[in-house]
């Protein structure tokens, strides 16, 4: 009988081998997939009530903190004292609806590792610090609040950068939402209602959405023209009422429907200061998609820009536009398929302000351990030279003229030299998307700004970048200079 029993024994051990294969399959091979399944509440539940690190602003204001739960001494509650103004930048960490913003980008630093797992205990024995780390960020709450208030009831975004380093001084998207509402027991319902809100408050318009930049893109085209020597501010172009796109019946007209200068000729400076579409469409086609593309890519278009989270690429389709002059003409005024985030357009303004060198944006200045010692420090990084020093200087003078006598007059700040460029991109459903990019003070720029308004209620002249976005920039520059002094 030992023969058959032995054969059954072999069968039994084959079955046990199957069980080993089974646990290997689910606990090793597919473990990450199962853990990350959206229906698996465990990862979020394990973070619930855990202590997380502080997030503080450049001036020391607390943006996120964990406080002990008064009802449960072993549990912590997350608080966001600045609420809606920092909702997209700081994000939230909710066991019910997930984690976003810096809370997500720096989750591994912010979370406490004191959860008594064997690997953590071993790490602690080897001297690792299991306490949550803290973040110090570059944004200024005063500027952030000013931007949030200036945007008012508009859907839109404001991004302000330090042009020398790329440090984000403010990044606001409106409408905001209260991150605290996503931490309560009603979080799921609150999140649902934010999701279906037609104003799309969960959307981060400042860094995660790309829009047609409109006439602010003329800054890139102008830089390319100056840099290649194709034109200087005095170079003259034809000045028709309407510019006929080559190979097409379509025409491009100026915003007011009139000629740019005298109907005979207009200079590059005049066209830029008055934001003449006719001249820039003509100029862009003459200059060519490739030369514009070189400058655009030097400014970070068609590239992944390093940031705390993935930001969508800004778009300039060189190859496609080289083969389609009509599309190139439209693209030269920032329409058609040209796209950029407000963050990216702030980078463009910053590059002009920074003597032609583009810088990568960043938000987290330092990561501090629980004892306050910096374990990671960020001083910014260059993307590289986007235009020559002379081009940057000339372009700065042109942009200053926009504010002193052109379409951006409402961006002016008394006693301060401001440079800028307006834009009024075609939005959806007949609404326009006003823009303004710029920097100040001109002789020693400390702030570069992009203001974007989505689908302004009123169209036409009263909803242009000059009338809607420029005044917001003016306010923010004043606030910023007040903070600095």
């Amino acid at each position: 009988m030992n023969g058959p029993i032995r054969r059954v024994a072999i069968g039994v051990f084959v079955c046990l081998g199957l069980l080993l294969a089974g646990v290997t399959w689910y606990q090793v091979v597919r473990a990450d997939e199962l853990r990350a399944d959206p229906r698996n509440p465990r990862p979020a539940l394990s973070e619930r009530g855990k202590e997380r690190g502080f997030i503080v602003a450049a001036d020391g204001t607390v943006l996120a903190r964990s406080v002990e739960d008064p009802n449960d001494a072993r549990s912590f509650l997350r608080e966001y004292p600045e609420g809606e103004t920092f909702a997209h930048l700081v994000g939230y960490s909710s066991f019910l609806v997930g984690t976003t913003g810096l809370e997500a980008a720096y989750n591994s630093d912010l979370r406490s590792r004191r959860d008594l797992t064997i690997s953590d205990l071993v790490a602690a024995l080897l001297g690792a610090d299991l306490r949550p780390k803290n973040l110090e960020i570059t944004a200024f709450p005063e500027l952030q609040r000013a931007a949030y208030e200036a945007l008012g009831d508009n859907r839109g975004a404001v991004v302000a950068l330090d042009p020398a380093t790329g440090a984000v001084l403010a990044a606001v998207s409106t409408p905001g939402f209260d991150p605290a509402s996503l931490l309560t027991n009603e979080a799921a319902a609150n999140w649902e209602s934010l999701l279906v809100d037609s104003e799309q408050p969960l959307r981060d318009r400042a860094t995660r959405e790309i829009y047609a930049p409109g006439s602010t893109f003329k800054t890139v085209v102008a830089a390319a023209s100056l840099d290649t020597g194709f034109a200087n501010p005095g170079t003259t172009f034809n000045d028709p009422v309407a510019f006929r796109l080559p190979g097409s019946e379509a025409t491009i007209e100026n915003a007011n429907g009139r000629v740019c200068n005298d109907g005979d000729s207009a200079t590059l400076l005049q066209a830029y200061v008055r934001s003449c579409n006719t001249v820039f469409a003509d100029l862009t086609i003459q200059l060519g998609a490739v030369d514009v593309g070189i400058t655009a890519e030097a400014l970070g278009f068609n590239q992944d820009i390093p940031f705390e989270w993935t930001i969508p690429q800004a778009v300039w389709n060189t190859e496609q536009l080289a083969a389609d002059p009509a599309a190139l003409g439209q693209s030269g005024i920032g329409e058609r398929d040209v796209r950029a985030t407000p963050l990216h357009m702030a980078m463009v303004a910053a590059a002009v302000a920074n003597d032609g060198v583009a810088v990568n944006p960043f938000v987290v200045r330092r990561v501090l351990d629980a004892d306050g010692i910096a374990v990671e420090e960020n001083t910014g990084s260059d993307l590289g030279r986007a235009m020559s020093s002379e081009t940057a200087l000339t372009l700065t003078q042109m942009m200053e003229r926009v504010v002193t006598e052109g379409t951006g007059r409402q961006a002016a700040v008394p006693g301060v030299r401001v440079a800028g460029k307006t834009g009024t991109a075609t939005g959806t459903g007949g609404f326009s998307n006003p823009w303004f990019i710029g920097f100040a003070p001109v002789d020693n720029p400390t702030i570069a700004i992009a203001v974007f308004i989505e689908g302004s209620e009123v169209s036409g002249e009263s909803a242009s970048g000059g009338s809607v976005a420029a005044p917001i920039a003016s306010e923010l520059i004043q606030t910023w200079l007040a903070i600095g002094s």
Partner: protein, 431 residues
């Protein structure tokens, strides 16, 4: 392994159980409390006492069995404690009772040994069938012994004497009685069963007349399935019988016939019964039926996957999200908190246990004892494979307990009796 080492290993395994309970306490902000001490005390009294009884009643028994059992009970116990402190308290009482009944079994067998079981096989079979039928007693009559229906299955008996109620599953003991009967029956008839065959090439087909016991076992297990809706016990009894029949005769034909009958029975059951049909759906497409049939299985897989390599740590996972975590899904619950390291250890421990059981069978010279040791080990192995395989989606979930680890008193009693029988056989066959 010396006796002293065996005793030391039992103490070590008991300490491990108490330590795991302490870890759960630490995870919840507690510390070394009365639960930790009580756990250690109950383990030492139960298994130390059982060990001492083995020294008295079966001194030549193998020293390898009890330490493995204590380790498995400990791994299950801390998880039961983590899931439900109240149940852990009850389970401690059951440990004492089960060990006591194990000792009683050893004592009863001291005089005449396991050959008494062979002699009284028909009585044992009748008692077992009687036990199996107990849950079908009316639930509402005046007699203190009543049947009870839980989750659509009739497996429970309530002994209700006014001041207290004791619930138990008589099938847990009945299945041992049935294995004893099978072993005795096959020991008597093995020659006849082995020799009456027709050959078809390499496969030997038994004479139709010799298939009668197989058909009867099949019919019997189908009755259990239909009448009591107990898929697990039904499969266990039938698989145990087929494997033992093969062990006794070496006729591959029985394995083939048994396999065909299992699949036919399962397929018929899936068509005829909703509850079997639902289990099939949960097995094949759990993720598509996450909201209903598949929920338990998927939660079990989430638990295992989230546990990953090292596990969350005792008390730090969320195995409470799995329905029936402390009974049917104890394996997934431990897998979440102890990780792959823990599940591999558990499977290895069962492998050792089965190896020791089959080793006892190998070394036995007397056919009845050989078959009994093999049969007892087979039903243990089948049970482990069915429930762990069910949790891992290797086979459909049949809803039986994981031996020694799941919460449940009757199962623990049955399994301790099984261990006592194996120890007794190894004592009798020791040279």
């Amino acid at each position: 392994m010396s006796r002293r080492l065996e005793a030391a290993t039992i103490v070590a395994a008991s300490l491990l159980a108490a330590f795991a309970v302490a870890l759960v306490n630490f995870a919840w902000g507690g510390g070394l409390d009365v639960q930790v001490g009580l756990t250690f005390l109950v383990f030492i009294v139960s298994f130390g006492g059982f060990f001492a009884a083995v020294q008295t009643f079966a001194p030549r028994a193998t020293p390898l069995l009890i330490p493995i059992v204590v380790a498995l009970v400990g791994l299950g116990f801390f998880e039961i404690y983590r899931l439900d402190t109240e149940r852990a308290g009850l389970q401690r009482w059951w440990m004492l009772i089960a060990s006591g009944i194990g000792v009683l079994t050893l004592w009863l067998l001291t005089k005449r040994g396991t050959s008494a079981l062979r002699r009284y096989r028909n009585v044992i079979l009748l008692v077992s069938i009687g036990l199996l039928l107990l849950p079908n007693l009316p639930s509402d009559w005046a007699f203190p012994l009543k049947g009870l229906e839980v989750n659509g299955s009739r497996l429970w008996v309530v002994f209700d004497v006014g001041f207290t109620r004791i619930q138990f599953q008589p099938a847990e003991l009945a299945k041992l009685g049935i294995v004893i009967f099978f072993a005795a029956y096959l020991a008597d008839h093995q020659r006849a069963l082995r020799e009456a065959h027709r050959r078809f090439g390499p496969i030997r087909i038994p004479e139709p007349r010799q298939l009668i016991p197989l058909v009867m076992a099949w019919a019997g297990s189908l009755v259990i399935l239909v009448w009591q809706r107990d898929l697990g016990a039904s499969l266990l009894v039938f698989a145990g019988f087929v494997l033992l029949l093969y062990a006794a005769t070496g006729a591959t034909g029985y394995l083939v016939a048994g396999g065909v009958m299992t699949i036919t029975g399962a397929a018929a059951a899936a068509v005829m019964f909703d509850h079997v049909q639902r289990r099939m759906t949960a097995w094949l497409e759990p993720f598509q039926h996450y909201e209903d049939e598949g929920f338990q299985i998927v939660q079990g897989l989430f638990a295992l996957g989230t546990g990953s390599l090292a596990g969350s740590g005792p008390g730090l996972g969320r195995p409470d999200l799995i329905p029936n975590a402390s009974t049917d899904f104890i394996f997934a619950a431990v897998g979440e908190e102890l990780g792959f390291a823990g599940t591999v250890a558990i499977i290895a421990l069962y492998g050792l246990l089965i190896a020791v059981g089959l080793g006892i069978s190998f070394r036995s010279r007397e056919p009845f004892r050989k078959l009994l040791a093999a049969g007892l080990t087979f039903i243990l192995a089948v049970q482990v494979f069915l429930i762990v395989g069910g949790v891992l989606r290797i086979v459909p979930l049949t809803g039986i307990t994981l031996p020694f680890m799941s919460y449940g008193g009757s199962a623990l009693v049955g399994n301790m009796v099984l261990v006592a029988l194996l120890l007794r056989i190894s004592h009798e066959e020791a040279r």
